[in-house]
Symmetry: C2
Subunit: 281 residues, 2 copies
């Protein structure tokens, strides 16, 4: 698989780079961003944090706005940020052009319904294809952590819970914790998966946590002034599920913070240190 | 003068806020952003760093991308980011819609040529009107520092050199140091000021430094892989001027860095600490 490097910016002694490549999972060309810490230039292999962004985002939002590179450079951690959906002229979009379905809204699942199933397979892309690509092309170890925001928090939690052998730790900011029971999730699941609730449960953090065997360390931050808190994010559902099965989830309600990158940047260092500890850094 | 608060995001225990107001200097409505560090909630008055952005920017670029809030919150420093030109339906723009003249390209000067002179008075706005507004409406001291990027680096250096009694220190990233001798500056100065070179010299950092009496502490960072280095930025002209008059300028060439916010974020902490020292923090 060929990677094409399309940008490079020196950043905190390391590099921020963007690449494009043909994705087999998604059946289209994709772009991702990677932060390569300065330890790589000294011959070290580093672990990788995968960051999954929220609705409407691309690979750029986190890299430009989260302010993660300073500490990642210090810790010696690579960060990979994929796009949030398949892209390109051949990829179908929501007929109404809505922000919460179709382009920019892949929901980190494998769609089964036409016309979405040919491209909308972000779950397979994030779990399998992208890490294989990263590990074949960059001097990284196979130690991985996963994090994300909002729809990407849903992605990080579901992917981490379903693949505990592939990650050391999971974290999320403002995740959609119970998509089966919120408008964003119901719209996406109906469109991508149809109406069978058992199919939905495979991609619902709250349901997955109730059934979880392995218990990866998990950290979640949620702002109390988040506009989407009550209707879409529902952290109480996740807390209840964690309590029910004794899952060691740390969910912090951050007083006064909202859904923006001003919130993420305020606590990203905590998340990097959390993952660094579990990655053995 | 009435300020209208249009957004508020909690950030590192402080607040990022945006305001609009009627500007007398610019004869239009303007927007600015302010970071208020957490010390304000504890009853302290804090000094202010004014940040001037580059071509095409608004008040948002620095606040979203520089990653300055973490250390500003720790140091107890407010940061104010104005827009880069007058705005609004009544404000003339470049006929060709170019990015380097007109909207988004005010060059921090007072235009004297029609039709620009009615609105394009960013020098007066940044030097006088905006600080008066900030100091009347927020719990800040009259201690000020000034910094900026590219066109905003030119703005910070010229304004600081011309008003040493108003600032404790000056810094810049990738500044246009000698606009009289580069395409961006020549185009802007011809349009806003006409063809008299004596008028141009009033807004040229290299010329101002040669004539400077007071010598404010000044820090400049310039990336060696900046695409605009040789044609537009010309740091050697500034270095030569500083040497000629013995100005205590610290100009650092940062190996491998470019013109982007990945560069700014990598060194913004150095600039904040530099200003903090001279502000007595």
């Amino acid at each position: 698989m060929t990677l094409e490097n399309i940008s490079a910016n020196k950043s905190f002694g390391g590099w921020h780079k963007q690449y494009t490549h043909r994705s087999t999972a998604l059946n289209c060309d994709m772009r991702f961003a990677i932060f390569l810490p300065p330890q790589i230039a000294q011959g070290q292999q580093v672990p990788v944090l995968y960051w999954l962004s929220g609705l409407t985002c691309t690979d750029e939002n986190f890299m430009q706005k989260a302010g993660a590179q300073r500490l990642a450079a210090e810790l010696g951690m690579a960060i990979v940020a994929p796009d949030t959906s398949p892209r390109g002229d051949d990829v179908p979009d929501d007929a109404e052009g809505s922000y919460d379905f179709g382009l920019g809204a892949g929901f980190y699942l494998n769609a089964t319904k036409a016309p979405w199933h040919r491209h909308y397979r972000m779950y397979e892309y994030v779990v399998s294809e992208l890490p294989a690509l990263i590990e074949a092309n960059f001097p990284v170890t196979t130690q991985r952590a996963i994090s994300g925001h909002s729809m990407g928090g849903h992605g990080a939690l579901t992917i981490g819970l379903k693949n505990p052998e592939r990650y050391s730790s999971i974290s999320a900011f403002s995740p959609i914790t119970n998509p089966m029971n919120c408008p964003w999730g119901q719209k996406a699941f109906t469109g991508y998966l149809g109406t069978n609730q058992e199919d939905w449960a495979q991609y619902d953090t709250t349901e997955l946590m109730k059934a979880s065997q392995a218990q990866l360390p998990a950290l979640v931050d949620q702002g109390t002034q988040d506009n989407f808190l009550a209707e879409q994010l529902k952290p109480q559902a996740l807390l209840d599920a964690a309590e029910q099965v004794g899952y060691p989830l740390e969910l912090r309600l951050q007083e006064g913070f909202d859904h923006s990158y001003y919130f993420i940047s305020s606590f990203i260092d905590d998340h990097l240190r959390f993952h660094a500890k579990h990655l053995g850094l």
